[in-house]
C-alpha cells in the first residue's frame, strides 16, 4: 500500500522534483517528500458554482507560492464530492487513507462537513473548511477544525448593528431559505437587531428550491426594510422578482446573498442593496489587490467569497508550516500552530483565531453601486475584529440553544 503508487503520480512527483531542483540553489529541500493538501470541492450539480470558485482560490494560492509551502514542495489533490454527504465521506477516506494528505481544504457545505467531521477528527487530520455551521466551533467543536471564513451569523450581527444604529431601521421582515444556514443567519441578525431595540415582524422561510418567490414577496410590506439570507442561485431569482413586484423597500443581504462573484448575474435591481461579508473585493490592501488582479487575469472575473476563503486557508497553512519548520508528522503540533496563526495582511484583512479555531476578523458593510457600467460592492463601514460571539459573553452565548427556525422566537 505504501510502496505502490499510480504511475501518473510518480511521473508528476518526479517532474515536480526535477523543476524544483533546477530552480533551487539548495537541492536538499527538493528531496523532502511533498506536503500534500487534499481539496474537497464540488464540480458537478447545483453547488458547482461555489465549488469551482474554491478550486480557483486554491489554485491561485499554489501559483503565488510557487507550489511550495515553507520551502517544501507541495502537491494538491482535488476530489469532487458531488455535493452529497456520501460522496464526501468516500472522497475524504480516499484523501486520507490512499493519498495520505497532510490536511484537507473544504468541503463547501455544512451537510458535507458534518458527514466527515468525526472521521477526520479520529484520523487527526486538520480540516480547513468554509462550511458555516455555528456549532462546529461552538457547542460541538472539532479539535482539528479551522474556519478562516465566518460562521453563518458572524457577518449578520454587524449588519443588524448597522441597520439599527446607522440606518435607524426599527422594523424588518426577513427572508431566508428553509435550512440550517438560513436559520443561523437570520437568528444572528434577529438577536442583535432586537437587543438593540429593533423588531423582526415576520420571518419567511421559502424552501431551498423555490421557483417563484412571489407568494413571499406578497407578504412584504409595512416595515422599514427586508433582510435577505438567501444563498446559492436564489438571490438572482429573488432580486428579479423583487423588482417585478415593486416592493420598493430597502434590501439588506448577508454575505452570500450579495457575493462579489454573483454581481455579474444581477441587473440594475441590485443597486443600493446593503450587505455584510467577511470578504470584499474592494478591500485596499497589498495582498488583496494582487489577489484580485491575478484572479481576473487567470479566471476572467472578480473572485467571490468562496475563492477568497480557500486562498486564505492556503495562507493559514503556509504560516503554520513556517512555524513547525515544514513538519507535518505531529498533527497536534500542526493544528496548534494553525490555530495560533495571526496574519496582518490577507485578502480579507488582518485575522486570527479564537480557541475554537474560528476566525476573528473584519466584517465589511457594503453598498452595491454601478461604476463604469458594472455592479460593485463598495465598503461603507468596517467592523474590526468581529468574533463569532459578537459582543456577547462566551459562556452565556454557549448556554443558549443554537439558532433554529423558531429560535429566537418572534416577539408578539
Amino acid at each position: 500500500m505504501t510502496t505502490t503508487r499510480p504511475t501518473r503520480r510518480m511521473l508528476l512527483k518526479g517532474a515536480a522534483a526535477a523543476t524544483a531542483a533546477a530552480s533551487l540553489p539548495a537541492p536538499a529541500i527538493a528531496d523532502a517528500p511533498p506536503i500534500k493538501i487534499g481539496l474537497l470541492t464540488v464540480k458537478t450539480g447545483p453547488l458547482a458554482q461555489g465549488g469551482i470558485q474554491m478550486e480557483q482560490g486554491t489554485d491561485l494560492f499554489f501559483k503565488h507560492v510557487g507550489n511550495k509551502l515553507a520551502g517544501r514542495p507541495a502537491e494538491l489533490v482535488i476530489a469532487d464530492t458531488g455535493g452529497n454527504p456520501a460522496g464526501t465521506k468516500t472522497k475524504a477516506q480516499e484523501l486520507i487513507e490512499r493519498d495520505r494528505v497532510d490536511m484537507i481544504f473544504g468541503p463547501l457545505a455544512a451537510f458535507e462537513l458534518l458527514a466527515i467531521s468525526d472521521y477526520v477528527a479520529r484520523q487527526k487530520c486538520p480540516i480547513l473548511s468554509l462550511a458555516a455551521a455555528e456549532d462546529m466551533t461552538q457547542r460541538k467543536p472539532n479539535p482539528y477544525f479551522i474556519r478562516s471564513s465566518a460562521t453563518s451569523a458572524q457577518a449578520m450581527r454587524p449588519l443588524a448593528d448597522y441597520a439599527r444604529k446607522e440606518l435607524k431601521y426599527s422594523t424588518v421582515i426577513t427572508v431566508a431559505n428553509d435550512f440550517a444556514f438560513g436559520y443561523e443567519e437570520i437568528g444572528g441578525f434577529q438577536r442583535v437587531f432586537e437587543d438593540e431595540g429593533g423588531r423582526v415582524k415576520a420571518k419567511l422561510w421559502p424552501p431551498l428550491v423555490t421557483p417563484d418567490y412571489t407568494p413571499f414577496l406578497a407578504q412584504m410590506s409595512g416595515v422599514d426594510a427586508i433582510v435577505s439570507g438567501l444563498g446559492g442561485s436564489n438571490p438572482v431569482k429573488f432580486m428579479l422578482q423583487y423588482k417585478d413586484q415593486n416592493i420598493g423597500l430597502p434590501l439588506l443581504g448577508g454575505g452570500v446573498a450579495m457575493d462579489d462573484g454573483l454581481l455579474k448575474s444581477f441587473g440594475d435591481e441590485a443597486i443600493g442593496v446593503i450587505s455584510s461579508a467577511a470578504y470584499t473585493v474592494d478591500l485596499d490592501t497589498p495582498s488583496n489587490r494582487r489577489y484580485v488582479e491575478d484572479s481576473i487575469r487567470d479566471y476572467g472575473g472578480v473572485p467571490g467569497s468562496y475563492a477568497a476563503g480557500l486562498y486564505c486557508n492556503g495562507m493559514v497553512a503556509e504560516a503554520a508550516l513556517q512555524k513547525t519548520g515544514g513538519k507535518t508528522d505531529d498533527k497536534e503540533a500542526l493544528i496548534e500552530a494553525m490555530r495560533a496563526v495571526s496574519l496582518a495582511d490577507s485578502p480579507r484583512g488582518p485575522f486570527h483565531f479564537d480557541h475554537f479555531g474560528n476566525v476573528v476578523g473584519d466584517i465589511f458593510i457594503r453598498r452595491c453601486e454601478k461604476k463604469d457600467g458594472k455592479l460593485v460592492n463598495t465598503t461603507i463601514k468596517t467592523y474590526h475584529d468581529v468574533s463569532q460571539f459578537w459582543t456577547y459573553d462566551e459562556k452565556w452565548f454557549l448556554a443558549q440553544p443554537v439558532y433554529s427556525r423558531d429560535y429566537p422566537p418572534l416577539k408578539s
Binding site: T44, G45, P46, A48, Q49, G50, G51, I52, D178, L204, W205, P206, P207, V209, T210, P211, D212, T214, P215, F216, A218, Q219, S221, G232, S233, V236, K237, L240, Q241, D244, Q245, N246, G261, L262, K264, S265, F266, G267
Partner: protein, 286 residues
C-alpha cells in the same frame, strides 16, 4: 385583501408559465406515452441558449424562437437516435431520459459555468400596469397572453388540422395508420421535436422570472409532472387547467402554509391519482 389579490394574480401568471413548461411534456407523454424525464433539462437548455443568443445581440423574442428551434432539433435527434429504439419499453425510456438529463446538466455546466445567469425581459415590458388599483408586473401579463396563444395554437393544430388528425390516428392505432399511408415514424419525430421546442421556448420565456442556473432542470421537472398528472395525460385542456390549478396551489400554499408547501402541491396529485387515475380531464385507459 391586498395580499389575496396579489396572490391571485400571481397564481394566474405562474400558471401561464407552468402551461408553457408542461404543454410539451403533455404532448410527448400524452400522445407518445414516453415519460420524458429530460423535459426539465430541455427547459434549462432553452434558457441557456436564450442567454447566449441575447448575449450575441439578438432580441428577446427572436432569441426565444431560435432557442425553441435549437432545442426542438435536439429533441428530434434524441427521438430518432435513442427513443426510437425503445418503443413501448417504459422502464428503458425512463432510464435513458433520466441518464440523458444528467448528461445535459453537466454539459450545460461545462458550457455556461456554475454562476446563475439572468435573462432580462424586453425593455418595453419592464414595469407594471395598474389593474383595478393593483400594480401588476407587465411581463407576467405577457406570459399569460403567450400561454393562452400557445394553448389555442396547439388546440387548433391537434384538433383542427390534417397533421393533427394524422398524429391522433398514429397514436390511437399506429398499425392501421401505417396501412392507410400515414408516416407514423416521421410524425412521432415531429411531435417529440415540437414538445422539446416548446420546453426550450418556455425556458427563455421563464428566464426573466426564474433566471438560469445549474439545477433549474430538476426544479422544473416535478412541476411539469404534477401539472400533467393532475390535468390528465393526453389532454391539452387538462394541462391547461392543471397549470392554473397548480399555480394557485403553489402560490397560496407557499404563503399560507410555507412548512407544508410541497404537501399542498403534491397531495391533490395523489388524491387525483387514487380517485381518478386518468387525471381530471384524461381519457380513461382503454
Amino acid at each position: 385583501m391586498n395580499l389575496w389579490v396579489v396572490l391571485g394574480g400571481n397564481s394566474i401568471a405562474f400558471g401561464g408559465l407552468l402551461f408553457l413548461l408542461s404543454a410539451g411534456f403533455a404532448l410527448i407523454f400524452g400522445l407518445m406515452r414516453i415519460p420524458n424525464l429530460t423535459h426539465g433539462s430541455l427547459f434549462m437548455m432553452g434558457a441557456y441558449f436564450g442567454v447566449s443568443l441575447i448575449g450575441w445581440g439578438l432580441g428577446f423574442w427572436p432569441a426565444a424562437l431560435l432557442a425553441a428551434l435549437g432545442v426542438g432539433a435536439f429533441g428530434g435527434l434524441v427521438e430518432r437516435l435513442l427513443l426510437r429504439r425503445l418503443p413501448g419499453a417504459e422502464l428503458a425510456q425512463v432510464l435513458v431520459t433520466l441518464g440523458l438529463s444528467f448528461m445535459i446538466a453537466d454539459a450545460c455546466l461545462l458550457g455556461w459555468g456554475g454562476d446563475p445567469l439572468a435573462i432580462a425581459a424586453p425593455s418595453e415590458l419592464h414595469g407594471s400596469i395598474r389593474i383595478a388599483g393593483f400594480a401588476f408586473p407587465l411581463y407576467r401579463i405577457v406570459v399569460i397572453v403567450v400561454a393562452v396563444l400557445i394553448a389555442a395554437a396547439l388546440w387548433i393544430l391537434i384538433d383542427r388540422t390534417r397533421l393533427g388528425a394524422m398524429i391522433r390516428a398514429g397514436v390511437d392505432d399506429p398499425d392501421i395508420a401505417r396501412v392507410v399511408g400515414i408516416r407514423v415514424s416521421l410524425l412521432f419525430t415531429i411531435v417529440f421535436s415540437l414538445g422539446a421546442g416548446l420546453a426550450g421556448f418556455a425556458g427563455v420565456i421563464g428566464g426573466p422570472i426564474l433566471s438560469v442556473y445549474p439545477g433549474l432542470d430538476q426544479d422544473m421537472l416535478p412541476l411539469a409532472l404534477v401539472v400533467v398528472i393532475l390535468g390528465g395525460s393526453g389532454s391539452l385542456v387538462g394541462s391547461f387547467v392543471g397549470s392554473f390549478v397548480v399555480g394557485f396551489l403553489y402560490n397560496f400554499g407557499q404563503a399560507l402554509f410555507p412548512e407544508l408547501a410541497y404537501v399542498v402541491l403534491f397531495l391533490p396529485m395523489l388524491v387525483v391519482l387514487v380517485v381518478r387515475p386518468q387525471g381530471l380531464f384524461g381519457r380513461a385507459a382503454p
